[in-house]
């Protein structure tokens, strides 16, 4: 193990040393008569879980970005990321690591295009074609209108910068600038590409040690009154990745009027996390010799109940409105409202909804502010930035039995979150602390990410940070992450 670790470190440091010598001051690499520009970074991130768990990731990442300007009106952009997590090499078993041992097959490596698209500018029309991330909305930390790309939450859940964990989609995007002076534009998006959110749920075939360090626990096993286990048997109604049926589309218009920047949005797509339909149950009796089912022998209750469940990706429509406005010299008001007229939600009211899924109109809202304040005793160099948000998720036509998520947690008519982010810079932005706190008022769970980034020199960008989750029940989004608190050290080398 130690040998491997040494090799890895030597490889990384050696590579970086070569880059350092080649480029003592920062400069992008240019080729083809300055038409092709290349840059990127090498990064190691080591995470240490608290509570005696120790090292849970040792990720080495290489990212390369390339811009090719064919002409002023035609350009191409590509971004590649290779990631290898050596923690599965470093930690060969051990008491704690046993539970994660099998997850390396799916989580230890990634080699993917993060984006690759062409940009064609035709007068006031800009066309972007290819694999891309499309970001709408005003809110941070909780997604309302930013729903086009799904997220990969298998590493550190959803706490990383979302540009790093959005799953890119092959899409056509057209932006028409009606009056750029007034920020007046119309944007159309169409993607035939369907991807779901990626959560680490482990592999039921390899259970129990296929769950990764950031896996979400499966719902606890339930039993009938006579003690027979109730086993969910889940079939996923898979969507074809590229098809007309899987395609999503939308449009938005933005304009600035009287200092208010506003957008109106519409999007037709699919939920990135499937809804689980109930399709009856199957009672099973076991023979005396083993687990082979036998016909109902009569006279005794079944030994096992199988719940037949189908996970389906429902289509959804979203109509949204966002705004921001500067109030005075130090305060920005911003807001985002996304109306889902037909959002699928779970229901325990089987008498009313036989497949235990129904649709409800839901309004997802955020009102927030960004403010700056001088606190010279804390930072004489520059102001402190504060960013606060209040989120409300309101379910219309609410009734008993509405539930959400894999744990069938009760869906209140009104669900609320608040968030606060504070940040500033010291020593000419060479030391940049920031802290984000998100509190789930409804479920009494919270999450905090304090971190400090060090920006010394042209190339090195180390960062230390922590992820702290709190909550006491099997609920999403934060409570289930309780006991996954960790601190991390990230060393990034820009080239």
């Amino acid at each position: 193990m130690k040998k491997k670790l040494k090799l890895i470190l030597i490889f990384l440091l050696g590579g970086v040393a070569i880059f350092s010598q080649a480029a003592p001051t920062y400069g992008r690499f240019s080729f083809l008569d300055n038409k092709l520009w290349v840059d990127g970074y090498l990064q190691n991130q080591s995470s240490f879980r608290l509570g005696g768990a120790g090292l849970v990731s040792f990720e080495n990442t290489l990212r390369i970005d390339a811009d090719y300007k064919f002409s002023p009106n035609l350009s191409f952009y590509g971004s590649w990321r290779s990631l290898y997590d050596h923690v599965w090499d470093i930690r060969d078993g051990g008491n704690y690591w046993d539970q994660y041992e099998g997850s390396g097959d799916t989580l230890d490596e990634e080699n993917k295009l993060r984006e690759m698209y062409g940009v064609l500018v035709l007068n006031k029309l800009t066309l972007k074609l290819g694999l891309q991330q499309i970001v709408w909305g005003e809110s941070d930390g909780v997604r309302l209108m930013d729903i086009i790309n799904p997220l990969d939450m298998r590493r550190q859940f959803n706490t990383r910068d979302w540009s790093e964990i959005r799953r890119p989609l092959t899409a056509v995007r057209a932006i028409y600038d009606i009056d750029p002076v007034r920020n007046w534009f119309v944007e159309w998006v169409w993607t035939p590409d369907f991807k779901k959110d990626l959560l680490d749920l482990g592999d039921p075939v390899k259970a129990p040690n296929s769950n990764g360090p950031w896996s979400i626990p499966l719902p606890t096993l339930t039993f009938t009154p006579w003690g027979a286990p109730v086993i969910p048997v889940i079939q996923e109604h898979k969507k074809t990745r590229y098809s007309f049926d899987s395609s999503s589309y939308g449009a938005r218009m933005g304009i600035e009027v009287g200092g208010w920047f506003m957008t109106l949005n519409y999007f037709h797509g699919f939920n990135h996390n499937p809804s689980t339909e109930f399709h009856g149950d199957t009672a099973l009796w076991m023979g005396p010799g083993g687990p082979t089912p036998i016909p109902d022998p009569g006279g005794r209750p079944p030994d096992l109940i199988m719940l037949n469940l189908i996970q389906r990706y429902y289509s959804m429509n979203i109509v949204g409105f966002t705004f921001n406005k500067s109030l005075g010299n130090l305060f920005i008001l911003r807001g985002e409202f996304a109306m889902y007229p037909d959002e699928p939600v779970g229901s325990l009211n089987q008498a009313k909804h036989s497949d235990m899924v129904t649709r409800r109109a839901r309004l997802h809202s955020m009102v927030g502010f960004d403010a700056k304040a001088w606190m010279r005793w804390l930072n004489p160099e520059q102001m402190i930035s504060f960013s606060g948000q209040f989120f409300n998720f309101w379910t219309f036509d609410h009734e008993w039995g509405l539930v959400e998520g894999p744990y069938n947690q009760k869906l209140n008519q009104s669900t609320n979150f608040v968030s606060l982010k504070v940040n500033t810079d010291y020593r000419n932005a060479r030391i940049s602390p920031d802290c984000l706190v998100v509190y789930d008022i409804t479920n009494s769970g919270w999450y905090m990410k304090p971190r400090v980034t060090f920006k010394y020199g042209d190339h090195w960008r180390p960062e230390i940070g922590a992820l702290i989750f709190q909550g006491h029940s099997l609920r999403l989004p934060f409570n289930v992450m309780n006991h996954k608190d960790e601190f991390y050290l990230q060393i990034k080398y820009l080239f």
């Binding site: 991330q133 540009s163 750029p180 921001n324 960004d370 520059q382 960008r461």
Partner: protein
């Protein structure tokens, strides 16, 4: 009756003293000519710096003296003193003509200090007090050293802790003025001003390094003295356009010693609570201009080599009359308590008259000299437009420097005709810049 006269006299005296505090009736101070041993032809070097130090103190603003001493002694640069050149214009001929044509039409509201009935050019070609000089020099309206109707500018910001290099970033900066345009088409007042009262838009796009590449900042400034700036930015890590507060313009840009309000020495908004006063008129050092197009005159741009001279930028200085004046902010929430400004005092009718502010020293709210900034080298093109090659932002409290080394499309014949006047949609909107960034 006698009592009334006494009261009236006392009242008048108080009134005069009170207004003189605002600078409204302060007369312009007479020129103090320099008569020491420093003459054109002398070269300031490491060896004679101490010898000439008492004279240099008379000729340089205090913060510039510290920087130049540093550059000469640590960076090993030499500073040639050159003849005061009357060859190169300080402003474009169109701007000078507009200034003289509309002479006498503008006035200043004594209560709000607002500029009234400004028709174009410098509103007060022969300023009689600090307030008139303020409106002449104000970089959002004056057309000097990059503050032309339009400009596009490339630079590297090299950050130094004393003489020790730390890091750098590079940018493209583009600006447009919407009111009283006489230098470049479209002329006159443009729609953003006539409809929304916008007098200025400026954009910054960061091109290096990788972690901030693609960061875009867009600033709108309004004619109204009470309306705060509108600020938008594109943050690559979020892949999203965010609105920023006007206060963000007083935070340092990416760890440098530059805050956007200090661009061109003074891009801060003029507000009613500010007061100004004249300090002196003196002959002082002023950065020398080079001239031509870069393609035709390769020596036009000073050759700065960071590896050889560190923070020391190659400068040539000439001696010119300079106004020294100060603006008090009277606002405890602002980053500075006051600015001391150094303005070219050569009359506008003469070459190179310009009302250009070439150096500024800014004091923190505790009254300490904090940040200073100004021009190190400038170049004028054959059409009379000029812009900078070297510029310094300095932090006196930390001995930290951000040295800007770059050139403008105003200096390049090819780029002048390719990029100017700017395409509003491409250069001054975030959507347009996003296309250029990627």
């Amino acid at each position: 009756m006698r009592n009334k006269k006494v009261i009236l006299f006392i009242f008048t005296v108080f009134l005069v003293i009170g207004f003189s505090g605002t600078g409204l009736f302060a007369q312009m101070p007479p020129l103090e000519k320099y008569q020491g041993p420093i003459k054109p032809g002398l070269v300031i070097t490491k060896d004679n710096w101490d010898q000439y130090l008492p004279e240099l103190k008379k000729l340089l603003p205090p913060s510039k003296l510290i920087y130049n001493e540093f550059g000469v002694k640590e960076g090993g640069i030499t500073i040639p003193i050159v003849e005061y050149s009357k060859k190169y214009p300080g402003v474009s001929s169109a701007w000078r003509e507009a200034s003289l044509k509309h002479q006498g039409t503008a006035s200043i509201d004594p209560k709000t200090q607002e500029l009234l009935n400004w028709q174009g050019g410098n509103p007060f070609p022969h300023p009689k007090n600090a307030s008139e000089l303020l409106w002449n020099s104000y970089t959002l309206y004056n057309r000097t050293a990059g503050g032309h109707d339009d400009h596009r500018f490339y630079a590297a910001f090299n950050l130094f802790d004393k003489n020790r290099y730390q890091k750098r970033f590079t940018w493209i900066n583009q600006e447009r003025r919407y009111l009283n345009r006489v230098e470049m088409p479209p002329f006159g007042n443009l729609e953003p001003y006539t409809k929304d009262g916008i007098v200025f838009k400026g954009t910054i796009m960061i091109t290096e390094p990788q972690d901030v590449r693609g960061f875009i900042l867009l600033r709108h400034k309004f004619w109204s003295m009470t309306k705060p700036d509108d600020v938008f930015s594109y943050i690559p890590a979020l892949k999203r356009i965010r609105r920023l507060t006007g206060g963000d313009l007083t935070d340092p840009l990416l760890g440098s010693d530059a805050i956007p309000d200090d661009f061109q020495v003074w891009q801060q908004k003029i507000t009613p609570e500010q007061t100004c006063r004249m300090v002196a008129q003196r002959e002082m050092f002023y950065p020398q201009f080079t001239s031509g197009w870069m393609e035709e005159n390769p020596d036009m741009r000073p050759k700065y080599d960071m590896k050889k001279t560190g923070v020391g930028f190659p400068e040539k200085l000439e001696i010119r009359p300079v106004w020294i004046w100060e603006v008090s902010m009277n606002n405890p929430d602002y980053v500075y308590s006051k600015r001391v400004l150094y303005t070219n005092a050569v009359p506008l009718e003469e070459t190179p008259g310009s009302f250009m502010i070439f150096w500024g020293e800014n004091y923190d709210q505790a009254g300490r000299l904090w940040r200073s900034n100004g021009y190190l080298a400038l170049g004028v093109n054959p059409l009379g437009f000029h812009h900078l090659f070297g510029y310094l932002f300095a932090d006196a409290l930390k001995s930290h420097y951000s040295l800007m080394d770059g050139y403008s499309s105003i200096h390049s014949k090819k780029e002048f005709y390719e990029y100017l006047p700017l395409d509003e949609g491409k250069a001054l909107t975030i959507q347009g810049l996003l296309r250029e960034a990627r």
